[in-house]
Symmetry: C2
Subunit: 302 residues, 2 copies
């Protein structure tokens, strides 16, 4: 089995991560975090979300953050746009990429975005069309692609169904997201293979949560299918809203450490990345969710 020789990491910490931290973070800190991530070699960063501040107050500073970051050539800045209103607001801030957030689980779609899967696709369709007309790349997040907090296990057929709908409205790339971290290697591979029924390997990424400690094993399993793009979150920012005190997004540091150890190029400087994680962890007054960062910083201190 030939593994990819190069992997692209999308750090979703500033958006997916900070949105799920209890503590609000000032825009200046978010801007500094983005700066540190790009200095560490990240080439794509999910920066913020254009949703109603009534629902997600943590992202109310989207314009301030997007207009405050010092854009670096070669780095892509993506933002979440759940509907036309959000997309129009985002447009002024010139994102390189937008993300529409769907779910493979009906119950999760209803509880998370207040509509059925089919309705969510109807809502995304004009957003996708408008984005593509402007030359903005469109990524679709397929949440609960392995398990759902309400429905339990999700069959690969449901992932294939959602991927087909996403393809139908012109979404260019899909992320297979194990939102609650219950996936194990073979189940994750089955979910990815379901996405590959509608998308090419170059247009599929993995987004694994470490809630049950499985994220790196699942990343290895995805690498073995040739998947070379992953969403991760510096310092494991985000936590898990479905299990208090548990881990959420896999830490970027842990994934980069594994890839480096396997001789797979990420273009990321691990030490600078650990520094970025230490910075935001200190700002939040919490421990890093990265085992690599914890081990490396303990070694330095000891």
């Amino acid at each position: 089995m030939t593994l990819p020789t190069r992997v692209k990491i999308v750090d979703v910490g500033p958006r997916d991560g900070l949105q799920n931290e209890k503590q609000p973070v000032p825009a200046a800190v978010k801007i500094e975090l983005v700066q540190r991530l790009q200095s560490a070699g990240l080439t794509e960063i999910e920066v913020t979300s254009y949703v109603s501040p009534k629902w997600v107050p943590q992202m109310a500073d989207n314009h301030e953050v997007m207009s405050g970051i010092q854009r670096q050539p070669g780095v892509r800045y993506s933002v979440l746009t759940p509907n036309m209103k959000g997309f129009e607001a985002a447009l002024a801030d010139r994102p390189d990429e937008i993300v529409v957030f769907g779910a493979a689980s009906e119950a999760f779609s209803q509880k998370n975005i207040n509509c059925s899967i089919a309705e969510s696709i109807e809502r995304f369709a004009p957003v996708v069309e408008a984005a593509r007309a402007k030359g903005i790349y469109v990524r679709g997040a397929m949440s609960c692609a392995v398990g759902c907090p309400y429905e339990g296990e999700i069959a690969p057929e449901r992932v294939a169904y959602l991927a087909g709908l996403m393809k139908g409205i012109g979404v260019q790339h899909v992320g297979v997201a194990d939102t609650i971290g219950v996936g194990t290697p073979r189940k994750v591979q089955a979910a990815i293979e379901a996405a590959l029924q509608h998308y090419e390997l170059n247009d599929v990424s993995g987004h694994f949560h470490d809630t049950y400690g499985q994220a790196l094993a699942n990343t290895l399993a995805a690498l073995e299918l040739g998947v070379w793009q992953y969403d991760t979150s510096v310092a494991g920012l985000g936590g898990c809203p479905y299990a208090k005190g548990a881990t959420g997004n896999v830490a970027t540091e842990d994934v980069v450490y594994m890839l480096q150890g396997m001789g797979i190029d990420t273009g990321i400087d691990l030490n600078k990345l650990v520094d970025a994680g230490a910075y935001i962890s200190a700002q939040l007054g919490r421990k890093s969710g990265s085992r690599v960062a914890t081990a490396l910083l303990a070694k330095c201190a000891g």
Copy 2:
């Protein structure tokens, strides 16, 4: 690639785990922990160590623990015996298996057991001979098989060298141990392949630490080579003596969760195992090192 359909887990929590916890644990608690582990379906438990209490005061109660446990048919009880004196003391307590603890790193051997690798083999030889004469199975731990806190990376040739020495004195089984958790999947596979130069697949096990979060990915990599025996530690007991506050032994719960999710039989009841981990964590007054236990217990509480 065909994965094993069945995996045997050796829980090393009572010995390897508790030996590395700062807090001393009463013999009665250790006995109760062994009881809970075997009730959960563990078929091999590393119970204690016969070393000088001057060096390892945590294991001074070895006789009390070994004679206090209620042995269950079909369960194997193993103990560490670093030398003849230890072996003779262990003999009275009728272990099913003894473990001699070597290192693939010269510096680690010197610092950890005060002799060179070659000298350690000389010291183990009469122990192995005596054990085999009594029909006691002999396992050899090959610590620092991937990396060493003093020497850094360890070449697979050094693992092959140690495995050859172990084979030469009659050790029946070797464990490839990533003692400081720095290994990543391909490096771990190389270390296992080195052991396989001298031992058959049925006589090689994996012992991975989760210090850098890599243990489950490394377990998956080892499964892909056909390795079906693993040392793990309930609740991740043990910590890492080389990085304060960092994780040590991979948690049994996390490995069992992955294997169950992959349809691989372990014979272990995950709920009872989580209970055993919660019991010993409460006794130590610390959080479980298992992400699975943390997630499952948080879900129950929430």
